[in-house]
């Protein structure tokens, strides 16, 4: 059990101690840590809540096949202990040792990609992650790479151009050359469980699931963190002190994605960006939702465990998971149990999870070939926005095109993710046509009682929910499919 953390920064192994004399707490964010160092003022705070990307840094870690994996993250949402056994790369590290700008920096300079320059360090790091991961990216990939970086000056056009130029020539840079040495340094840091104590916080980062379950049994009030993108806001925005934290981000067991003939089991600690390629073919509707979930930086940290643990009624991934018939695996030292996801939520941010339990996996049954599923997210802005209303729908029709089974799960329409059961019952057995759907959609309003808030009025939410059912019907009929992909 170690009481310090170690990571690579500026080419060296850096160790941070906690405890009463340290200026750092285990819940100090990587952003605040970096900005406390005189030589790392390049990283900027634009919002402190993962919504602007000015603080983007890249974390590299040992990945499969003995290569480094590079991930962009919002450093304002990452607690220091999550750096353990990783390489932290900041904007100051990109220059070649001979002083030359990195190709991504060069392209941004030459193509006028900076104006006020305050978002630029974050843009540079998102572009660096793109450069390392996607040689010759298409426009969609580029847009996705920058979806988590706000720029108020340029209008993004020169940034896109810089990305196209920088990534056109492959990704060989000094980081490739140093890869083996970096891996050796990373592997020399022991894979310890961490027990980090500061004046106000006990922070556990177990290295094995059994240990995590024991910790949760002994500390049922302990705040569980997987990706931390939501919990970190309690520190950065509410300035809460988190007295006990159980950080599951070191548990490889919880990052497993296993597939058999009948289902795919996704570890609750798998970053969503790792999940996406694994579910793309089998669950395109889930993939579609994840592609507009937060941003690259968020998806590199965020997990299903976090989305289920938070249990927000506007959790983006939740309605489609319900529609897909997902089962939630809850584990404790006494064993595991599985709960159908629709029974998992009990109210506003409350669930059936017991205090000694941890969400360890979600299990998605592979759909029958005639199951049609779709997901929809209505938000004020396409990128990096939380759902105002979301829908996860699944439908099975018989040969007469009558509804054999249907699940209509909505987010943003009630205090929890809600199935529109009256509408489902109405539709069951009926002909799947415009008249039925119009009639059914008018029932949605009776079933849901949404609120008015900063995102939209209740009236707008009701119209949107109704429209989504019609949209689902349109898509099952292939109507106006020529433009569907453009607007999505």
């Amino acid at each position: 059990m170690a009481s310090t953390i170690s990571f690579l920064l500026d080419g060296r192994t850096t160790t941070v101690e906690f405890g009463h004399s340290s200026i750092y707490s285990p819940t100090t964010t990587v952003l605040n840590y970096l900005r406390s160092l005189p030589e790392h003022k390049g990283v900027k705070e634009g919002c402190g809540q993962g919504d602007c990307g000015a603080c983007t840094v890249v974390l590299a870690e040992a990945g499969p096949a003995g290569r480094l994996l590079y991930r962009s993250v919002d450093s304002c949402l990452v607690f220091l202990p999550m750096l353990h056994r990783k390489q932290l790369i900041t904007v100051e590290n990109l220059r070649h040792p001979n002083g030359d700008l990195h190709p991504v920096q060069r392209a941004l300079v030459d193509l006028h990609g900076s104006q006020c320059g305050f978002c630029t360090p974050g843009i540079v790091m998102s572009l660096f992650a793109l450069y390392k991961n996607h040689p010759r990216p298409d426009r969609t990939t580029i847009e996705d790479a920058f979806a988590g970086n706000l720029c108020r000056c340029t209008g993004y056009q020169p940034i896109i151009a810089a990305a196209q130029r920088a990534c056109a020539e492959g990704n060989a840079d000094q980081f490739n050359k140093g890869e083996e040495a970096t891996l050796a340094l990373l592997n020399s840091i022991p894979r310890d469980s961490l027990r980090l104590e500061s004046a106000e916080t006990m922070y556990y980062r177990p290295a094995a699931l059994s240990e995590a379950l024991a910790l949760k049994a002994n500390h049922p009030a302990g705040i569980v963190v997987t990706g931390g993108t939501d919990i970190a806001l309690r520190v950065t925005k509410n300035h809460d002190v988190l007295p006990e934290v159980i950080d599951l981000s070191a548990l490889d067991e919880m990052k497993l994605i296993a597939e058999d003939a009948f289902s795919i089991s996704i570890g609750a600690g798998a970053p969503l960006n790792d999940v996406m390629p694994r579910i793309h073919d089998v669950f395109p509707s889930l993939h579609r939702m994840l592609s507009v979930f937060g941003s690259q930086q968020i998806r590199n940290m965020a997990t299903f465990g976090g989305n289920l643990g938070t249990a927000s009624p506007i959790g983006d991934a939740l309605p489609v998971l319900v529609a897909l018939g997902t089962t939630v695996e809850l584990s404790s030292i006494t064993g595991s149990r599985r709960v159908p996801m629709q029974h998992y939520f009990t109210g506003y941010r409350t669930t059936v999870r017991r205090p000694d339990e941890i969400v360890t996996a979600v299990i998605l049954p592979k759909p029958a070939s005639n199951l049609i599923t779709r997901s929809y997210k209505i938000s004020k802005r396409r990128e990096l926005d939380i759902s105002t209303v979301s829908g996860g729908f699944s439908l099975r029709l018989n040969e007469r095109r009558e509804v054999e089974s249907i699940v209509l799960a909505f987010g943003g329409m009630a205090d929890r993710v809600k199935r529109a059961e009256t509408v489902e019952n109405f539709l069951a057995g009926r002909k799947w046509n415009r008249e039925t759907v119009d009639e059914a959609s008018s029932l949605i309003e009776r079933e849901c009682n949404p609120i008015s808030d900063a995102r939209a009025s209740a009236e707008m939410r009701r119209i949107a929910a109704r429209n989504l059912l019609l949209k689902f019907w349109c898509e099952t009929e292939g109507l106006e499919a020529d433009v569907e992909s453009v607007v999505q």
Binding site: G42, Q105, S114, G117, R152, I378, K380, V487
Partner: protein, 778 residues
């Protein structure tokens, strides 16, 4: 003209991309630094009955807790009207108003102290919207009016009349760098403020004011801002003054950097407007008479509202000649943060009003709106005076229209859009062309002045100081280019210093798009002084060497890094070699330059005159695809043609056009400010306030600068570019409206407001469908 054919990169770009660029929060300070925090009002309107700061002051590490009575000088922040306290005294008039200040060794100590401050408030009635302000006669200043012709008579004679109301929303600046200031104490009462401000001289004046000291004891320095957009024209002063007060009270360096949510809650926005209009027009769509009544939400204090309203009134014509035109305006006082400058400065709100009118005229007549627009454009020979009497000179509108209609394939795409709409029930497309004519100059005429201080050192390097501030617009890059060109030297020789009130005093704000126009001229004038001194001295040197045919100072030219006798090109000396000679011959290598815009004048009372040095023109065509079921639109293509005269740096200018346009697209679409029934900002974080992301820009974005003659009477023939392109975003707003209107076959006028959020769109479509159904059933 080689200078115009390429674009130098931003002078700080290498620093931006390496993280080496220094912003206020990055300035190294010793271990003495204290963190400042502002304690704000939770009420929109309340009496401060009592407060107790003793417990807060006892927290270890807390060095100062201040209230209004602790202000040694004037408790006053108002830049024009003295109606805004620095710290609330007896009453708070908006949520987010500063009441107390804390300085402590850590931010955590500040927060602990804040929790221990005890305040008793007695809530009072609050005015939270324009209508309530109107019914309570809560007017700020007086009603304003600019008129030409006989509007009532012309209405009576018009073929058709339309009337209506338009709401345009507030907009948060969302500069990436929040308000920030670092103050460092000096000897006696000296203080240096490193402020993220667009207006260092005013920041200096107000710091001196609240501290009760003289201005020659205050230095304000600005290296760069992480964005300004008008939000740091007056409202950077607040953070600077609070920091200065804490610095004075503790005698230690103090820094305040507002957290994002606090910044959004505390600072003013772009004014929301409620506009009422009436228009009379001919069967051909010619506007005969227009009446526009502009009502702005000023917030709780005046700030720059009068000038903003004025600019809105001066842009209510946009690009259109209106023979009989009445524009009235009023600022309404509400219990919201004082609204302030933001890119366009009222221009967008005035322009949105007349663009709504023209759009409606076209729909009424079932004519193409672009066609109706062009029919109403200002003429080049006749129909070319504005409602305030200024002649629209060098009018580029007709030629730009012809070029853009062609280059954007407007007519073909109009047909394609109509065909698409005829064959799609759930998606519609929309297309719109909008122009902009934007007046360049501060309408408060005396502000149109600037100063510069240019130093040449004996190694031949040049340091340019000027009064303008760099906020990302590329001003320093342009200034560096101007100085290099004036001296005929390479850019490497020239450095632009941080803006500093001890170098160039009594400056105007970097605002109104005038930064390079004014400061560029001042730098040029300083350079001219230096060049004439250098020319005289070097002519002497050359003449001493060539006694038979002396060199005339007036024939000396500066080019190719050299100083050359134009009559005898073999007589030349390298620029760097000449400077030690200047020192030896005891000639000063430092000169100031000063510039004021000539020939402008504006009679505010009569609403007549020439407020603008010239106009900048632009035009855009935007096409959107709208999903009628989700209210989501996709911006398919935008073509922009913009007039920047002879551009000093085309890449920087295109960057301003694209960036300004996209910022406008945010105002027109996703950026929605909402307050709750208690006057608290609901959209106080980027979680709910949505500025455009990379996915929101046009899929196909074509921007070009008009090939045109040099602009007469400006620095190197250029035109200002910061604000005008913002208004071109109205093409997106009206394209969305066009798509919504297609739901009812363009037969009905959609209910529409700005921003056109998904909610506005969906509700508008619902109403159109309901009306269509109702008519069908009749």
């Amino acid at each position: 003209m080689s200078n115009q054919s390429y674009s130098e990169t931003n002078e700080s770009a290498d620093l931006h991309v390496t993280g080496e660029a220094v912003y206020v929060d990055d300035i190294p300070v010793g271990g003495q630094l204290l963190t400042g925090r502002v304690v704000i009002s939770p009420y929109a309107h309340a009496k401060i009955v009592s407060f107790d700061l003793r417990d807060a002051r006892r927290i270890p590490g807390v060095h100062a807790v201040l209230a209004h009575a602790d202000i040694p000088g004037d408790n006053q922040m108002g830049p024009v009207v003295k109606d805004e306290p620095c710290l609330a005294a007896d009453e708070v008039t908006f949520c987010g108003q500063a009441v107390f200040l804390i300085a402590a060794e850590t931010e955590q100590q500040c927060r602990e102290a804040e929790r221990l401050i005890q305040v008793a408030y007695e809530p009072l009635d609050a005015i939270l919207d324009i209508e309530t302000a109107m019914s309570n006669d809560s007017l700020m200043g007086s009603h304003r009016r600019i008129e030409r012709g006989d509007v009532e008579a012309a209405f009576a004679a018009s073929d058709h009349i339309i009337e209506g109301e338009l709401r345009t929303g507030a907009q948060e600046h969302w500069y990436l760098e929040t308000q920030a200031c670092l103050c460092v104490p000096g000897e006696r009462d000296e203080i240096t403020a490193y402020s993220s401000t667009q207006h260092p001289s005013e920041t200096q004046a107000l710091i001196a004011g609240v501290l009760g000291i003289r201005r020659n004891s205050v230095v304000v320095e600005v290296r760069r801002m992480g964005g300004g957009f008008g939000g740091k024209e007056t409202q950077a002063n607040h953070t600077a003054c609070w920091t200065a007060l804490l610095c004075r009270a503790t005698r230690r360096p103090v820094k305040i950097r507002l957290f994002r949510d606090d910044d959004m809650i505390m600072t003013g926005k772009r004014h929301r407007f409620l506009t009422r209009y009436k228009a009379g027009f001919t069967g051909n769509g010619i506007l005969e008479a227009v009446r526009i009544e502009l009502n702005a939400d000023g917030g709780a204090a005046t700030d720059l509202s009068f000038a903003i309203l004025e600019r809105a009134m001066l842009h209510a014509d946009n690009s259109y000649y209106i023979a009989n035109f009445s524009v009235t305006g009023a600022i309404w006082k509400t219990n919201l943060p004082p609204n302030t400058a933001m890119r366009g400065f009222g221009g967008p709100q005035g322009t949105a009003a007349i663009e709504t009118v023209v759009d409606r005229v076209a729909r009424f007549l079932r004519k193409d709106p672009a066609e109706i627009r062009s029919r109403n454009f200002y003429g080049t020979i006749s129909r070319n005076t504005t409602h305030y009497g200024q002649t629209v000179e060098n009018n580029r509108l007709p030629e730009m229209y012809n070029q853009l209609i062609r280059s954007s394939d407007y007519r073909e795409r109009r047909i394609a859009v109509d065909e698409f709409n005829a064959t799609h029930e759930f998606y519609k497309k929309g297309l719109a062309l909008t122009p902009v004519k934007f007046g360049i100059s501060f309408t408060t005429s005396f502000l149109n002045q600037a100063g510069a201080l240019v130093n040449i050192y004996t190694d031949g390097t040049i340091l340019v100081n000027h009064g303008g501030t760099e906020m990302g617009q590329g001003l320093h890059s342009k200034i560096r280019h101007i100085a290099a060109r004036e001296f005929g030297v390479s850019l490497k020789r020239v450095k632009v210093s941080a803006t500093n009130t001890s170098k160039v005093p009594n400056t105007s704000a970097t605002a109104a798009s005038t930064g390079s126009d004014l400061n560029g001229m001042a730098v040029r004038n300083a350079a001219a002084t230096l060049k004439s001194r250098i020319a005289e001295t070097i002519a002497e040197v050359f003449s001493e060497e060539n006694r038979s045919s002396p060199t005339f100072a007036s024939h000396i030219v500066f080019e190719d890094e050299s100083i050359i006798d134009g009559d005898h090109p073999e007589r030349r000396i390298a620029f760097a070699d000449a400077m030690p000679i200047m020192q030896h011959r005891q000639v000063s290598l430092s000169a100031t330059g000063y510039y004021r815009t000539p020939d402008i004048g504006w009679d505010r009372e009569k609403g007549r005159g020439k407020p603008f040095h010239y106009y900048a023109f632009g035009m855009a065509v935007s096409e959107v695809l709208l999903d009628l079921l989700t209210g989501r639109h996709k911006l398919l293509r935008t073509d922009i043609l913009h007039d920047t005269g002879t551009s000093i740096n085309p890449a920087i200018d295109i960057g301003q056009v694209e960036g300004g346009f996209i910022q406008g697209v945010g105002w027109c679409t996703t950026e929605e400010i909402k307050w709750d029934e208690n006057g608290r900002l609901m959209t106080h974080s980027p979680d709910t306030y949505k500025i455009p992301t990379v996915g929101d820009i046009p899929q196909d974005f074509r921007v070009s600068l008009l090939r045109t003659d040099p602009n007469p009477g400006t620095i190197h023939g250029s035109k200002a570019v910061g604000e005008p392109p913002f208004m071109l975003s109205l093409s997106v707003w009206l394209a969305i409206k066009d798509a919504v209107s297609a739901v009812a076959g363009h037969e009905l006028e959609p209910e529409f407001s700005l921003p056109a959020t998904y909610e506005v769109i969906l509700l508008s479509i619902e109403k159109l469908k309901a009306k269509t159904l109702k008519e069908a059933s009749l």
